[in-house]
């Protein structure tokens, strides 16, 4: 991996990837049944995105 150029992601891509990976892991760890897992994953993913975007907009006035 060190021989290839580093992975370059935009802020939003990094947020999406992080939210997706962690939501899936939390869903599998905390729920047993598949319908519950899927519901939890979707809910957690949406909350990650909402909170991330919310904090991003909250910091916007101080970004310049």
């Amino acid at each position: 991996m060190s021989d290839i150029p580093g992975i370059h992601l935009s802020h939003f891509q990094a947020l999406l990837l992080f939210a997706l990976i962690i939501s899936v892991a939390f869903g599998f760890l905390s729920r047993r049944r598949w319908p519950d897992r899927i519901k939890y994953i979707l809910w957690s993913f949406m909350l990650f995105l909402l909170v991330g975007l919310g904090i991003g907009w909250a910091m916007y006035p101080f970004s310049r």
Binding site: L9, F18, A25
Partner: protein, 154 residues
């Protein structure tokens, strides 16, 4: 308890009072279970997902292994900082503990990232967080496997 009270102190009134206190028969089994659970927790930390695989929780085992592997691959690929034990301050120590949580992947990541970290850009900073998240998530999963092995609801 059906122990009867006797006026004669030398008289044995019940089998329970005639011998020394005997530990409950479940005690050795419980101790064995605790030590097995501890080993399962350690296995889960060393190789992400192994703690669940040993308990035949295949879905969770595969998910944990894949999640930690992807996060570590992204963290090193984005040239995040992989902390070492000889850190200068408390944040370095905390980062080292978090990174070490990935178990064998920590040593793999140290060998993969030969060009060193680059946290002068946002990507490297994100990589550092991805790596730390992988470690903390694996510690959480190992604790989950430990609790499941102890028989607690998981």
């Amino acid at each position: 308890m059906t122990e009867q009270i006797s006026d004669d102190p030398g008289r044995v009134s019940s089998p329970a009072t005639s011998s020394a206190p005997v530990p409950p028969p479940q005690a050795p089994r419980a101790r064995e279970r605790e030590s097995t659970a501890l080993l399962i927790g350690l296995a889960g930390w060393l190789i992400p997902g192994l703690g669940h695989a040993l308990q035949k929780m295949w879905g969770r085992a595969i998910t944990i292994f894949a999640t930690v592997a992807i996060l570590v691959a992204l963290g090193t690929g984005m040239r995040g900082n992989i902390f070492v034990s000889s850190g200068g301050d408390a944040f370095d120590t905390l980062g080292y503990i978090a990174d070490l949580g990935t178990g064998c992947f920590y040593f793999l990541a140290r060998n993969l990232e030969k060009t060193g970290p680059d946290v002068s850009h946002a990507n490297g900073d994100y990589g550092t967080r991805f790596m730390a998240t992988a470690g903390v998530l694996n510690l959480l999963a190992a604790l989950h496997a430990f609790e499941a092995a102890r028989g607690h609801k998981a």
